[in-house]
Amino acid sequence: MSPQFINFLYFIGALCFILGIKGMTDPKTARLGNIIAAVGMLIAIIGTLLKKEIVSYEWIALGFIIGGIIGALIAIFIPLTRLPERIALSHAFGGLAASLVGIAKYYELGAEMGSVKIAAIGFEVLFGSMTFTGSMMAFGKLAEILPSPPITYKFQNQSNILIFMATIALWIYLIFNPAASHFFYIMVGLAFLVGILIVLPIGGADMPVVICLLNSYAGLAAAATGFVLENYILIVAGALDGGSGFILAILMSRAMNRSFANVLFGAFGAVTEESLKKQEEFYAGKVKSTTPEEVAYLLENARLVMIAPGYGLAVSQAQFVLGELAKVLKSKGIDVKFAIHPVAGRMPGHMNVLLAEAGVPYEDLLELEPSNALFPEADVAIVVGANDVVNPLAREDKASPIAGMPILDVDKARTVVVIKRSLAPGFAGVPNPLFIKENTLMLFADAKQALQEILNNIKGVVSRLH
């Protein structure tokens, strides 16, 4: 097939990608967008198979069949509560693919390359390798194979910056001396190391930002691959992915009122003994606890109930019980709305997917601002497995580590019920004055169990048994 025709197919593919993302701007067109983007990918793959450089198909088929089966199995069977892990893994695979293509290209061409090409290959391999190991680390932390709190040691930031600078120095050296192959492989090794080191000091609840940044890096690596291969569909796709990840990362860090630098180097959320002791004094004797029966009574007599979910909801897999509770309340004529903080959960949009899975219509999932407009009218606000995103200290205490972070104003509701296993601090390691407010009731239990008991009470199951 003529190269012009193949390039035309790539052009159609790129167009499909753009239309696919446009579809995602509205829930009504999102599924169509996904299909259009998939068609674009199919066209690009078919176009590539027609290239005359490809002389044998068995290795391609082998890789595609094994990878396709693995990808399909993960995508079909992973519980949606574990989506952040799946996304982290896929960034790792994306980074690995880009990095390997770059290494293979260098191995093939070596010293024949000009400075421009080696610069692009270096960039591709750098970002690809960093994304690979960084995402594997993020995956490990999310899956709790690795400890989720920040891992810190002395001179950590200094040594990380030094290693990163060394990697960049090798890249620059290679631009002028493309033939120095041992330096190329040292650079690859260092890039793998950098990926591990930069994610080590980042704690679990900062993962939304990290995942978005890794998403962005994976995209940039793909775009760099496009420069190496002089293939424009890769540049378009990489720019879209890189841009998307970057925008999401900005939205996430803005939702925490923190800078990238603070997220990446701040080792935020390292809990100290001292702070734990202070917490105990802070809460001593001021916490009012409640029972599922009492909460059920409160809910039945409410007109508007607002629910603020957090990562704890995903951990205890409580989304289905919560969805049913909302449905039962609605059938009794009580209005139920969900208040979703942008960084609730471990990735952007995490809570929305879980609640949608539990059958909550998307019109009832409110963003931060409409939620806060509605809280003063709510009779009951229920906080399920969230902590820092509902902490009034962010509004009131300028010295607090979460000062200025936009929060859900659950305390404006007439009564607040907090379902939480213990008074353990949230990720920021600060006490939460919400828990001792006079209109707050604490329900100490596992989220799923507590919600089930509330639901049973409302349905009258328990009262009939007694």
Partner: protein, 97 residues
Amino acid sequence: MGSILIGIYIFFLAAFLGYHLITRVPPLLHTPLMSLTNAISAISIVGAMVIAGMKHDLVTTILGTIAVLAASINVVGGYIITERTLRMFRGRGGGKK
């Protein structure tokens, strides 16, 4: 050198277009957006296929095959998981979409 310039040209136009599209995606759909862009960036499979199929030597073939494998996990998985999450989103009255 010319093709690199065209590449930079395309990169910035696509990034600009992407910026305007992506800022219009509601937070409701941020998770499927991420899995979709992730599937799209698995377009590196195009490069990996050429390397795996060009029969240069064993090293490049193996590197290329592993790259095809890694990228196809995202190609196949990315679209399936996006469809799976999007199917969850229902409007009021149970109407699909």
